[in-house]
Each structure stands twice: as structure tokens, then as C-alpha cells.
Amino acid sequence: MFDNILFILSASLTVVGAFSVVLTKNLMHSCVYLLAALFGTAGLYATLGADFLAATQLVVYVGGVVILMLFAVMLTGGDQDKENKFGITKVPSMGNFKTFLAGGVSALVIALVVLRLIANVAKQNPQGELPEFTSSVVAIGTKLVTDHVLAFEISSVLLLGALVGAAVIARPAKRGE
């Protein structure tokens, strides 16, 4: 019974949050709604028995990415309605025919691709019971250092690249050069 409650709670949080992200016109508000959607996604992972993934979702997305986005919004001027010194008030108006067309077409394409993927997966794995609830931490850890040790190491190189890239991009341009 609680399985259903947890699923309904997190799914509705995700869906409502995701819709609010696109429906609101305030950038800050949409960041907060995104937080709700990401939080709900963590709940969905928990429903599926992927406890470590759920916690990672909390740590990385709720704690990190949302704050990064809030900072990024503030970096470009918090409120679009107010004037700011970079003159970003002149954002091309959203919600005209062209944007709706582009958005609609891309949503259609993505939906088709996702549906195909899900259909394939569903065909191969007929619906059944979820695996026994054991610690996914140990399973992930064992996989990371046995079968996927190369991926584990390469991901550190990827993160190094991301770190250097972030530092280079965000470094303010030197004056007088």
C-alpha cells in the first residue's frame, strides 16, 4: 500500500513540477519547480528499489545542480522584468508561433524516440516482480571496481576535463589583453 502512496506522491510531484517549470514565466520560480521535479524523481528511484541512485539524485541534483542554476540565473540578472546592466531585457519574446512550432516538433520527435526505446525494453523484459530489496550500494560498488573499472577510471578523467573546462570558461577575461 505504501508503495503506491510513495509512487503517487513522487510521480505527482515530478509531473506537477515539470509542468510548472515550462508554464511559469519567472526564471527563479521555474528553478524551484525544477527542484520539486528532481526531488520527485528521487522518490521514483526509491520506489524502484534503487536507493543509492535516489540518494545520488538528492546530493547531485537537488544540492548541486539546482544551486548552480540559481547562481547562473543570478549571474545573468535575476529578474527579466527589471532592467539590468547587461541589457538582457531584450530577450526574444517566447510564445510566438515559431517557438511553439519548434517546441512542438522537437517534443514529438523526442516522444517517438522514447516510446520506441520503451517498447523495445518492454518486449524483451516481460513485466514481472521487482528484484528483492537488497543494498544497491554494494552491487554498484562491486560492479564499479570489477566489470566496469575502466569506466570508473575514465569517468575521473571526464570529471577532470569538466573541472578544467569550467574553470577556463568561468575565468573572467583579463583586462588589457
Partner: protein, 398 residues
């Protein structure tokens, strides 16, 4: 694996009997209902005790600061001024609720809520004793890091939504400080996880013993340093002085909650005091042996064997001793946190960031490597075990 307070209770006969009686009376299997009721009651108790701890925390803060500054402190309401926090609560709830005209009303309302929800969520995994832990998740420590980061978002949103320059500065500083200090804190917890071999709080605590030399803080030199790195980082994450830059009252008026009045401010304050308790509890659980009681009194076996008590009573006395041990350690750390606040001057913003990124993070990484190598080289034995081996070997040689 995932043990909860329900799984602890279900080993007693009375619990099963209660379920069967209730099932007969209601006509369906009441296991579920009872589990829900137990969780609800336990959560209710924890939340209320924590609210009390938060309230008494404000009282303790004033009393201790008064002690340090040779003042009286609150002494009018109740004996020794003990009921001061209730008077404050009544005052806050009857204060006019002011939302600034230019504020972002939605975020202004959501921010205190988010802070409180984040802190309450983190209470679920605090190990009060081996039985009384609301839920012992497999990913306990990691979950706690994640859910308590909601407070950082809340502080930023509180600062942003007020549309006041002081609040904005406080919120910006708060968010960047909290996320920065999360790095050394996470890394020093990671070192403990390596030694204990698990992420759940029960694994962390059970790997330690009751006596101080069995605690992780004295396990090896790296964990000794790691405790201080963790504690400094935890101070900064909860915005306690000397890291209270987000609300630096001498420069930013009151920081991110400048515009908050009445109960809305009260929730920020309550969240802060409860969060201090939670991080002190994590420090106690991860480094100071948590709920472990010396001589294995916590399991109750000794009491049962020597005093010939019935096992149920013995176990429950053991549980009470465990709760006492955990709460004592946590409150001692709580006292130290307040003591530090009234002793050290506040850091400057650039010093704060330098301390985090140039001192604590490299030290924490070094500790992590040290602990990993230690576990591999000495099979996870502590310094004392190694010394006793040495002593044994030398005496055997004679």
C-alpha cells in the same frame, strides 16, 4: 539490512499479540496499520523532542553566552529562565506577518518551509540507539548529505526573495559557503565509510566500540584529523560562528532573514538549531562511537546474566542506556558549538573560501588516501590493536 524501529519492535511478543488482536477486531491484516502507527508515533516523538531541543538550544545559547560574558542571561520566565523559549514562541506567533512589497511572495513563503522540511527529513536516519532509529537506510549518510542540502537552497531563496540588499548578500554568501564546505565534510565521512565498510549509520556505529580507544576518532592519526575537518566543515554548513557570514549581524543586519518576521523567522531559527543537533549527532555517530555504551551494556546481555532480569527488560534498559550515551555525546558537541560561537571572531569571506578550498579540502583528501592505505596495510586495525600486537610480540620474544 534496512532495519527500522518497527523491525526492532516486532521481535517482542507483545507487538505480535497486539497486531493479532487488532487484526481480529478490524477484520483485516493490521500489520500495515500498526507499522504506520508506530512510525507516526515515533516521528511525532522525535519531531517534538527536536523542537524542544531547538527551543532549549536558544536558551542554552543565551545562558552560555551570558556565562562567557559575565552576564545573567534570561532569568525571568520560569525557574532559571528555562521557559524563555516558550515566551519567545508566543511572541513570535503573535507578531505581525510582514511580506515586503517588492518581495517574491511565492519564494518568500516557500523558503522557511523548505528549510524545515530538509532538516526534518534528515532526522529520519539519526541513530538514537540500535533499536530507536526511525529508518536505518542502506545509504544513510549519503541520504543525509543530500537532504540537508535543501537548507542551502532555502537560505539562498530566503535571501533572494526578500528583495533587500542585505538579504541578497547573506543568501549568496550562505549558499556558496554551504556548498563549499560540503566537499570536506563529504570527504571526511568517506574516510570513515572506507573503514566501516558501509553507508548505513548502524554499520558506522557497530564498527566502533564503547570505550574511547575503540572510537573512530582515536582509530588512527588520519581519522583524528578527519574529525576536526568534519567538525569545522559542519560548523560552516550550519552557519554557526565563526562561520556565520550569511547572517553576520555587524555587517549584513541579519543576513538572509532580515525581512522575515514572526514565525517565518522562527522556522529558520528552529531549522538552524535542529540542524546543529543533527550534525553533532552525525559527528558523534561517525567518530565518537554513537550509541555504544562501555562494557557492552547497550545490548543488555550483561544485565540479564548478572542481575537475572527478564530479557525484555534487560534489552530495553540497554536501549535507554544507548539513547543516553548518544544524546550525551551529541549534547557535549552542542555545547562546544555554542562555546566556539562566543569565543572566536567571525572569518572574512575570502579567508572562509581559502580555509575551505586550500586547507580543509586537501587535508580531507589526504585523510581519505591515508585511511584507504591504512585499511589495506593493517587490515583496518586501530593504533591500539597494533600496539598491543607489538607488545605481545615483544613479550613473547623474551
Amino acid at each position: 539490512m534496512n532495519s527500522t524501529i518497527v523491525s526492532y519492535l516486532s521481535q517482542f511478543e507483545g507487538h505480535k499479540k497486539f497486531i493479532s488482536i487488532l487484526s481480529e477486531a478490524l477484520g483485516f491484516d493490521a500489520t500495515y496499520l500498526v507499522a504506520f502507527l508506530v512510525f507516526f508515533l515515533a516521528s511525532f516523538i522525535v519531531v517534538n523532542v527536536m523542537a524542544l531541543v531547538g527551543g532549549l538550544g536558544t536558551y542554552a545559547e543565551r545562558k552560555i553566552s551570558a556565562d562567557i560574558q559575565m552576564r545573567q542571561g534570561p532569568n525571568r520566565v520560569g525557574p532559571y529562565g528555562l521557559l524563555q523559549f516558550l515566551a519567545d514562541g508566543v511572541k513570535m506567533i503573535t507578531k505581525e506577518d510582514i511580506i515586503p512589497r517588492n518581495a517574491d511572495k511565492l519564494l518568500f513563503t516557500i523558503a522557511p518551509l523548505m528549510a524545515l522540511v530538509g532538516v526534518f527529513g534528515s532526522l529520519a536516519v539519526v541513530p538514537f540507539s540500535s533499536g530507536f532509529i526511525l529508518t536505518d537506510l542502506n545509504v544513510g549518510v549519503f541520504y543525509l548529505i543530500g537532504v540537508s542540502s535543501l537548507v542551502g537552497v532555502a537560505i539562498f531563496l530566503g535571501g533572494y526573495s526578500s528583495n533587500s540588499k542585505w538579504s541578497m548578500l547573506g543568501g549568496m554568501r550562505g549558499a556558496s559557503q554551504i556548498i563549499s564546505y560540503e566537499v570536506p565534510v563529504t570527504l571526511s565521512i568517506l574516510a570513515i565509510v572506507i573503514l566501516a565498510g558501509g553507508l548505513s549509520f548502524s554499520t558506522l556505529v557497530e564498527a566502533q566500540g564503547g570505550m574511547p580507544h575503540q572510537w573512530y576518532i582515536l582509530h588512527n592519526p588520519f581519522t583524528f584529523i578527519g574529525f576536526f575537518v568534519f567538525f569545522i566543515g559542519a560548523l560552516a554548513e550550519t552557519n554557526r560562528a565563526p562561520f556565520d557570514l550569511p547572517e553576520a549581524e555587524s555587517e549584513l543586519v541579519s543576513g538572509y532573514h532580515t525581512e522575515y518576521t514572526g514565525m517565518r523567522f522562527g522556522f529558520f531559527a528552529l531549522a538552524e538549531y535542529i540542524e546543529v543537533f543533527v550534525v553533532c549527532g552525525v559527528a558523534a555517530a561517525a567518530f565518537l562511537g554513537g550509541y555504544k555504551v562501555p562494557f557492552d551494556l547497550g545490548t543488555g546481555d550483561l544485565l540479564v546474566n548478572t542481575l537475572h532480569l527478564p530479557p525484555i527488560i534487560g534489552r530495553n534498559i540497554g536501549q535507554i542506556l544507548q539513547v543516553g550515551s548518544f544524546v550525551t555525546k551529541t549534547l557535549v558537541l552542542y555545547y562546544i558549538v555554542i562555546w566556539i560561537r562566543w569565543t572566536f571572531p567571525r572569518l572574512r569571506v575570502d579567508h572562509l573560501m581559502t580555509l575551505c578550498w586550500k586547507y580543509l579540502t586537501p587535508i580531507a583528501l589526504f585523510n581519505l588516501v591515508g585511511c584507504a592505505v591504512w585499511l589495506y596495510a593493517f587490515d583496518g586495525q586501530s593504533v591500539w590493536e597494533l600496539l598491543s600486537h607489538l607488545g605481545g610480540a615483544s613479550s613473547g620474544g623474551h
